[in-house]
């Protein structure tokens, strides 16, 4: 097997678990088919829920008749929007006006606003029966004009989605840093790009959303078994809507079949399950169908960039840019308009330009609601910055490699403060780029180009750089809504030494394949002085029993910082207590005690050693005669990154704690006759600071790469003019399979973060590096055949063929003027 090559430039520390690719603790149960995913959970007498969904993208709801469904034997009951409107309040809105006025309920109330929107819920004894009954529900729709294209959302005659909002704009704001006028005055060239489009897609985790919800009438509490990946956020949304305190919502996760951000916003469906569990006095089981997921859940943000202007000096120095971003939020604001600020974490990309102006407008349309998707909002923005670099290079004749290196933030400038006050903690971008180029065979590029030409193929090289900003400062939400009371971040872990010496860890996180049980064990083992097998990390999350904080969850590339920060903090506390306890036994100073190999022992005297089991037994079962304030061996730590609230006037501040980098490079070959292209070489070089488990890190890089390649070539949520999704299943939404993947080489460097206790950086999202580099490679390949400008993030074969047939329209997008 030669498709994967790793360039190891950092030597592993010997004798510690940290830095080793220890086998994952998760794997055994998963390869045996013994994982517990949400659809695996059953309860006696549970009812299966099926949603009646809107076939219209925009319609007034008339009468709804559920009587025929209720008459079917085995049907337990139904829930309609009218009931929901009585039993709950609209979900809390993150948006300031105008988006704040959106009224969003768990089922459609009054109107439907996208195809696939849940209108009625039907519960029955079997899955089949619930579906049969759903077909008997009669809903009268009065179709309304449909808004599909966000660019038309502000037209005078545009259909209005939410009458309370007086327009379709959910958020708009101007973000400006530096002196744009001066930058453009200083520039020798101005490159203008009239329109760029970042396409709509998402990561389509293989397991769809689901829940099993029970209601305890005695305590008034719901137990919600679900695969929601951010239960803290779900609870904040659900509690006020359902008019109950958060402690009434016990949210339990176990194995989750992929999330990628797409499983954050299932709270409307969870509310429906809760209401029905109470109404029907039985457990409610809901498993979303694939088609339903595609039509209704968590699409990635679709974004246009209009009237982009770039100020460039004659020597290729980039001074700044201005643009107008238009974001398509879909029909409801389920996590939006946070996408309106998240991009600002990476405002300049990897470049040193100091002058940036971005007018951001977000519009609601009759399409599925947008919510976080791997690389959320940063991917779109980084794609813009990478497109800018390659279009500038193309138009002004610069080498895409050299112009990058010239304008990169340089390693000696780290930590580097961006124009908007973010701080890039560490990194060596030029070196990472060199490694990536070396892996794809850049030095022989021109020979390969000629060889491909001899076979009638067009060959091109592309580079895609991406920043994985890890650990949100939620204070950034105040930049879009000053009234929001969110800031900072936190995560919790508990570590205890149990009675027989086993180390037991609970996390606030809800992993979906990231291997938290393993990496947490590695960190604990090194601190406590035991082997990884002795550490037991509880599977999944239970908000009743796991200690957790407001921002607990697994999202936004933060586990390596917040999650492991909490684990390290709690482990340090436990180590102190264990040493103290041992010192009490040995009548010595705690400083004389070391923890190693499962023993607390006196340094320099290995004979004087207490096994961990003895420590656990003393505290838990044999503690008579203890002094006041004894060790508990049960430690909880809340990790809180050192954030301030960003300045609302200047929109400056540290929005993120760490910045991991992925540098992708690829070579494509295009068949000029058909537009069909193939990636023939691919490299991804990762720098996420200190790696706890290199194999897991590499796995994340690979996964992000595959998502990006899929989005670049095949995956799109395309709609027709009536608002029907044209790709609602895996036939038409082609996700790459094993035969589609190009040969991959991976490399890595480690630039430890100076801001985190372990030198780690949040990683895993990858921000679409593959999309950027495929776009760049196509543009490079087409240079020899008309010089089209790649203007869309998604380039199926027919688009490439169109650009080959007539590069004119794409070229007309770009204009260069001297100043």
């Amino acid at each position: 097997m030669t498709t994967v090559e790793t360039t190891k430039t950092a030597a592993l520390e010997k004798g510690t678990a940290k830095g080793q690719s220890v086998p994952r603790k998760e794997d055994r149960r998963l390869v045996e088919g013994q994982g517990t995913f949400v659809d695996d959970i059953k309860r006696h007498g549970m009812g299966y829920l099926h949603f009646v969904r809107s076939p219209y993208a925009h319609a007034k709801l008339g009468s709804i008749d559920v009587s025929a469904a209720l008459e079917l034997p085995g049907v337990y009951g139904t829930l309609t929007g009218d009931e929901v409107a009585i039993l709950t309040d609209p979900f809390f809105q993150i948006a300031a006006p105008p988006g704040a006025a959106v009224k969003d309920y768990a089922l459609a109330v009054g109107k439907v606003r996208y195809v696939g929107e849940p209108v009625v819920a039907v519960v029955a004894e079997t899955r089949e029966l619930a579906r049969d009954a759903a077909e008997l529900v009669e809903v009268n729709y009065e179709p309304l004009p449909v808004l599909v294209d966000a660019r038309k959302g502000q037209d005078a005659d545009a259909p209005i989605l939410h009458e309370d909002c007086e327009g379709n704009v959910s958020y708009s704001g101007v973000w400006e840093w530096g002196d744009l006028d001066a930058a453009f005055a200083e520039a020798d060239h101005v490159v203008k790009i009239s329109e760029l489009h970042f396409d709509r897609f998402n990561s389509t985790p293989l397991e769809t959303n689901g829940a099993l919800v029970e209601f305890n009438r005695g305590t008034g509490q719901w137990t919600i078994h679900t695969n929601n990946q951010f239960p803290g956020f779900a609870a904040i949304m659900m509690g006020p809507a359902m008019r109950v305190g958060l402690d009434k919502l016990r949210i339990v996760t176990q194995d989750i079949g992929g999330g990628f951000g797409n499983k954050i916003t299932s709270h409307p469906q969870l509310v429906v399950c809760c209401l029905l569990a109470r109404k029907l006095k039985r457990a409610i089981q809901w498993t979303e169908w694939r088609t339903d997921f595609h039509q209704s859940m968590s699409h990635g943000n679709e974004r246009w960039f209009h009237d982009t202007e770039v100020a460039v000096k004659a020597d290729g120095t980039l001074l700044g840019f201005r643009t107008k971003a238009l974001d398509d939020a879909g029909a409801y604001l389920r996590y939006e308009p946070l996408g309106g600020v998240i991009w600002a974490q990476v405002a300049p990309g990897l470049y040193r330009w100091r002058n940036i102006r971005l007018e951001f407008t977000q519009v609601m349309t009759n399409k599925a609601p947008v919510s976080p998707n791997r690389g959320y909002s940063r991917m779109q923005h980084l794609w813009l910055t990478e497109r800018i670099i390659d279009i500038v290079a193309h138009e002004l004749g610069f080498d895409p490699v050299e112009i990058r290196k010239k304008n990169y933030v340089q390693p000696e400038q780290m930590p580097y403060e961006t124009p908007n006050g973010c701080v890039y903690d560490s990194g060596d971008y030029p070196r990472a780029l060199d490694i990536a180029l070396d892996l794809v065979g850049y030095s022989g590029l021109e020979e390969r180009r000629a060889e491909a030409a001899s076979r009638g193929k067009l060959l091109g090289l592309g580079i895609g750089l991406t920043l994985d900003s890890g650990t949100n400062n939620f204070g950034q939400s105040q930049l879009i809504n000053p009234d929001l009371q969110f800031s900072g971040n936190n995560e919790v872990a508990t570590v205890k030494l149990d009675i027989f010496g086993e180390v037991v860890v609970t996390l606030g996180t809800t992993p979906q394949g990231q291997g938290h049980e393993t990496t947490a064990s590695q960190v604990v083992a090194d601190i406590i002085g035991c082997d990884v097998d002795t550490v037991h990390v509880r599977v999944g999350h239970d908000s009743y029993w796991n200690s957790h904080a407001g921002f607990s969850g697994t999202y936004a590339s933060q586990f390596a910082v917040t999650g492991l920060g909490a684990v390290k903090g709690a482990s340090d506390m436990l180590a102190v207590e264990m040493k103290k306890l041992a010192s009490m036994v040995f009548q010595c100073s705690p400083d004389d005690i070391e923890l190693a190999d499962g023993f607390a022992r006196i340094k320099g005297n290995p004979e004087a050693a207490l096994p961990f089991m003895a420590l656990g037994a003393i505290v838990n079962a044999n503690n008579a005669g203890f002094p006041e304030d004894p060790p508990t061996l049960n430690c909880r730590f809340v990790y809180r990154p050192p954030f301030d609230v960003p300045d609302k006037e200047t929109k400056k501040g540290q929005l993120t704690l760490t910045y991991a980098t992925q540098i992708h490079a690829c070579i494509v070959e295009v068949d000029p006759e058909t537009g069909v292209y193939e990636i023939v070489d691919y490299a991804a070089v990762d720098d996420c600071g200190t790696r706890i488990n290199p194999q897991i890190v590499e796995g994340q890089v690979m996964g992000a790469t595959a998502h990006a390649i899929g989005a670049a070539m095949w995956e799109t949520f395309a709609y027709d003019e009536d608002g029907n999704l044209l790709t609602p299943n895996f036939y038409d939404y082609h996700v790459p399979h094993a035969m589609d993947m190009p040969p991959l080489k991976t490399g890595s460097i480690e630039s430890p973060s100076p801001f985190t206790s372990l030198g780690t950086k949040g990683m895993g999202e990858g921000g679409g590096g593959g999309i950027h580099c495929v776009c760049a490679a196509l543009q490079d390949a087409l240079r020899a055949s008309g010089g089209a400008i790649v203007y869309d993030s998604h380039n199926p074969y027919h688009r490439v063929w169109e650009m080959l047939q007539d590069p004119g329209p794409s070229r007309a997008n770009v204009e260069v003027s001297a100043t």
Binding site: R127, E128, R131, D132, W289, E673, T674, V676, W714, T716, A718, L726, T727, Y731, D732, H734, P736, H737, M739, D740, P796, Y797, H798, W801, E802
Partner: protein
């Protein structure tokens, strides 16, 4: 994902299968189920009775006709069986080559040639191939059997010459004679994926047969192109010249994967490539 209630029977003989199909309104034959079960899951169509052909061993054989002039492939022969068949390898290897690219291995393990052509989804592989190869289909009903040519067989999406109460029993493909070359090519969604446009060609001593897939509800014979090639000049230039105008003669659909114009263009490119490859193979 969940089917409507459906009656199911599993006959032990072809006669019994035909009787069941004839006697029950809305009865459909169930072969490998790789399309039918899917369509039923979506409830896009709901047969009232499924007649499962699984036990009809005589539909699972591959053999030669008495005069050795044709390969007789039972309707229930799976794609995987075709891929592994020594008879196919000897007599018409293109069948195995194409079968090996249908959908994926799991689907090939259950999906049958009979099901593939009775469904006649425009993106399916076998319909254009069998038209190009000049295959014929044998259909059995209560009154006996009849044979139709591949062109007569395909009537529309999900529609074939197999009428109510009838059963497709076998497909006859002429064995390859010396100087024959077959090829199938096209543009797919991903490697070995769904065809966006396909073209099959068979070059032989009497000329070339070309069929285009995905451009209409049935495989389209490229007769004008065939006629231009009767002289037997399969040079690059001649084949390209012959294909000119093929696209314009078609009225292909536009969908999310390709606009009609792109399909017209791909039809020409694919036809050229298929013919060139077939001609090269014909030369040996």
């Amino acid at each position: 994902m969940l089917l409507r209630e459906v009656e199911y029977a599993r006959p032990a003989s072809i006669d019994e299968a035909i009787r069941l199909l004839a006697e029950h309104d809305g009865a459909r034959a169930l072969a490998g189920g790789q399309t039918l079960v899917n369509v039923m899951k979506a409830r896009a169509a709901s047969p009232d009775v499924l007649v499962d052909l699984a036990d009809l061993a005589e539909l699972r054989t591959i053999s030669f006709s008495a005069d050795q002039s044709a390969l007789e492939i039972g309707a229930m022969v799976t794609s995987s069986q075709i891929v592994g068949s020594s008879e196919v390898e000897v007599a018409r290897p293109i069948l195995a080559e194409v079968a090996s690219t249908i959908a994926d291995l799991q689907v090939r393990n259950r999906g049958t040639i009979g099901g593939n052509i009775c469904v006649n989804d425009p993106t399916n592989h076998f319909p254009p191939l069998l038209v190009a190869l000049g295959a014929s289909m044998t259909i059995q009903g209560r009154d006996g059997e009849r044979t139709v040519s591949a062109e007569e067989f395909f009537l529309g999406v999900y529609f074939t010459a197999v009428g109510e109460g009838e059963l497709l029993t076998r497909i006859s493909v002429p064995t390859r004679s010396a100087g024959t070359g077959d090829a199938m090519t096209g543009i797919t969604l991903g490697a070995h994926g769904t065809y966006i446009v396909s073209a099959a060609a068979s070059v032989g001593s009497v000329g070339v047969r070309i069929a285009i897939g995905c451009v209409s509800s049935v495989p389209e014979r490229a007769t004008a192109m065939e006629q231009q090639l009767v002289g037997g000049d399969y040079s690059d230039a001649a084949v390209k010249a012959a294909a000119a105008g093929l696209g314009a003669s078609l009225d292909p659909p536009s969908d999310v994967h390709a606009a009609a114009d792109y399909r017209r263009h791909l039809a020409e490119v694919s036809a050229v490539r298929a013919v060139l490859q077939a001609a090269e193979r014909a030369r040996g």
